[in-house]
């Protein structure tokens, strides 16, 4: 009872990275609270999944295994999660801020009348004082997220309602195996206890999942462009540099919204979080919502016309000037100084 539970997402027979990341975070929260970590896996052919997640420090795995439960549809997954949570009374429920989590999470929270915070960039445990009601709370989940287009950072708490629910984007938390030998108790859920025919009202007719062409998370060098790049054509400068030095191209939300780059390249709170060895920010001003997705980069170079761009404060090197001047020179002097260039990755020209 009152444990920490992570809803684990499955795609093509595999538990998704975001779920492992949340299990890792969930383990540390459970340690702080001195409770158990639970995983809820809903899908089809789940044999072996329990073992797969237990490495991340899971104590109890709930398996809801039924061929009607994959691919994900809203109502059956909601019915099972809500039914289970009413019995197990978790104090915290975490899920990915993914197509699935953002569809399922609000439905569960409404059903249980519990608070849900979307797209958290950090989760902590702490106390809260409701001065009006004169009440003090201990060991609440701090759900921390940029708000208002990324202009402020808010810490949200759910003082009274349980579970405290939060969604987190892929890449925000780090995925870490606790020990290979960690064993979890596996509980098979009798799904028919929770499901009825009406839950299958929405049927999937066709489904196509594409493999991402962009691998930002796995890239040790990222060249990211912002609104200041100016156009889709100017983004080619970034692809050229990426091609030359073996990097991947990312973009800020403003650049994606302006149509300069594809959504799958978006870095930040509502995109992907990255931790590369080198982050080259081109024409990016540095709104909080973007910084949230790149602040753990080991080294940052900012190329910007504006000497006062907020991102410059985070940068190890600031180059003041135009991309059109700077990037070709970077390519030129990289090639001149490197012994064996290895242009492996790149964007459209790559």
């Amino acid at each position: 009872m009152n444990n920490v539970c992570v809803y684990c997402e499955i795609e093509e027979g595999k538990i998704q990275d975001v779920s492992y990341e949340l299990l890792t975070k969930g383990r540390s929260l459970a340690n702080q609270l001195n409770v158990k970590l639970e995983a809820l896996i809903i899908g089809d052919s789940l044999a072996g999944m329990g073992k797969e997640v237990s490495k991340y420090g899971v104590d109890i795995v709930y398996l809801a295994d039924d061929k009607r439960l994959y691919p994900f549809t809203t109502l059956p997954h909601t019915a099972i999660a809500v039914g289970l949570f009413k019995e197990t009374q978790p104090q915290i429920v975490l899920m990915g801020a993914t197509s699935i989590g953002r569809d399922l999470g609000p439905r569960i929270s409404s059903s249980l009348t519990s608070g849900l915070t979307a797209d958290c960039t950090d989760l902590q445990i702490g106390e809260y004082e409701d001065k009006k009601a004169g009440k003090k709370y201990e060991n609440l989940l701090y759900q921390i997220r940029p708000a208002f287009g990324g202009n402020i950072v808010a810490t949200i708490v759910n003082p009274d309602n349980r579970p405290q629910m939060a969604t987190v984007r892929e890449g925000v938390m780090k995925k870490e195996i606790l020990t290979e030998s960690h064993k979890a108790e596996v509980v098979n859920i009798d799904v028919n206890k929770y499901l009825n025919d009406a839950d299958f009202a929405v049927k999937i007719i066709e489904r196509q999942i594409e493999q991402s062409k962009v691998n930002l998370k796995g890239s040790s060098i990222i060249i990211a462009g912002g609104y200041g790049v100016g156009s889709k054509e100017n983004f080619n400068l970034l692809y050229d540099l990426a091609h030359a030095i073996g990097a991947e191209v990312g973009a800020s939300r403003a650049a994606v919204d302006a149509g300069f780059a594809d959504k799958e390249r978006q870095i930040g709170q509502t995109g992907i979080t990255v931790r590369p060895k080198l982050y080259i920010a081109c024409g990016i001003s540095g709104q909080i919502q973007h910084i949230a997705g790149m602040q753990e980069s080991a080294m940052v170079i900012s190329i910007n016309n504006d000497p006062n761009a907020p991102i410059n404060k985070l940068a190890d090197y600031v180059i003041q000037g135009n991309l059109e001047n700077i990037i070709p020179k970077m390519i030129k002097y990289y090639r001149k100084n490197i012994i064996a260039p290895c242009p492996l990755r790149g964007g459209p020209r790559g």
Binding site: P106, S109, T117, A147, R207, Q208, I291, M299, I319, M330
Partner: protein
């Protein structure tokens, strides 16, 4: 014919935040931000209007919750083809989180009456939560189809929707009534229609008419110029589930983030500077 409700929201334009958007105390200066029709709600309206193109008897009601000023987007929706607007406004709604908002909206939907489809934008740009659509569906006990980019077909009580996922898409089929949230990849909303603009430009809510007596008269004479306005009591809602008190989530703290500033080395565009930097990156094995 179909009865459609479209959930819409007036939002501060957080995409165009100027320097005076934040007050000195770190709070948001809402007055400095222009208020706009939430972009994905316009996609939702377009999906509804496409249904009406095909089935002209279809009736589209816009529903919004917000301050009196939010009637602006209801008029905007009327100009673009919606048939009616409802403004849900009350001090009791202040401070609502997504759950309290969804509760209030679901009460207003009940009051509007029978419906076949509810469309809503996937998310609003001021919060980006994407929670209100699914939570309204839950409160109404109907299925949801999120992230719609196209209504592939609608016949009798069966609808087929193409949904945009992070990586790929799905085509799903459901039975009415249900709630659909529109993704930004759905068609852009058609512009205002000049005739409708003339017809509805003096459409007002009761609060707006309070001070302007001739508008009051025209609304009396032409019922279509009266935008429905409801308060918490009108929609028979439980006050305990509204506003700050009805919101499970509380804001503990809001802050301007202060980055741990690094000591940056500032370089120029001179060849010497750039070559030095590239040599540095290669030498310390950051690249190469």
């Amino acid at each position: 014919m179909y009865k459609i409700i479209v959930l819409v929201k007036q939002v501060p334009d957080t995409r165009n935040v100027g320097k005076d958007a934040m007050k000195a105390d770190g709070t948001v200066n809402r007055a400095a931000l222009p208020a706009i029709f939430n972009p994905e709600d316009l996609n939702a309206l377009e999906l509804a209007l496409e249904v009406k193109d095909k089935y002209p008897d279809t009736h589209i009601t816009l529903l919004t919750m917000g301050p009196v000023r939010a009637a602006e987007i209801l008029r905007e929706g009327l100009y673009r083809g919606a048939d009616a607007g409802v403004l849900l406004t009350d001090k009791a709604f202040a401070g609502s989180d997504t759950l309290a908002t969804s509760y209030a909206l679901s009460r207003a939907v009940r009051k509007i009456g029978e419906f076949d489809l509810i469309f809503a934008g996937r998310q609003a740009i001021d919060g980006d939560t994407a929670q209100v659509g699914p939570q309204v569906a839950d409160k109404l006990g109907i299925p949801q189809i999120t992230y719609a980019e196209d209504v592939i077909s609608l016949k009798d009580k069966t609808v087929q929707i193409k949904r945009r996922l992070e990586r790929g898409f799905e085509v799903v089929e459901g039975q009415l009534p249900l709630l659909i949230t529109a993704h930004s990849t759905a068609p852009d909303c058609r512009p205002r229609n000049a005739k409708r603009l003339m017809k509805y430009k003096r459409a007002t809510t009761l609060s707006e008419r309070h001070n302007v007596s001739d508008d009051y008269l025209s609304a009396n004479q032409k019922p279509y110029l009266s935008i429905t306005e409801w308060c918490a009591k009108d929609v028979d809602s439980d006050l305990a589930q509204l506003g700050l008190g009805g919101s499970p989530t509380k804001v503990r703290q809001v802050e301007n983030i202060v980055f741990q500033a690094k000591e940056s080395k500032v370089l120029t565009t001179d060849d010497g500077d750039i070559e030095w930097l590239m040599q540095e990156l290669i030498t310390n094995h950051t690249i190469g």
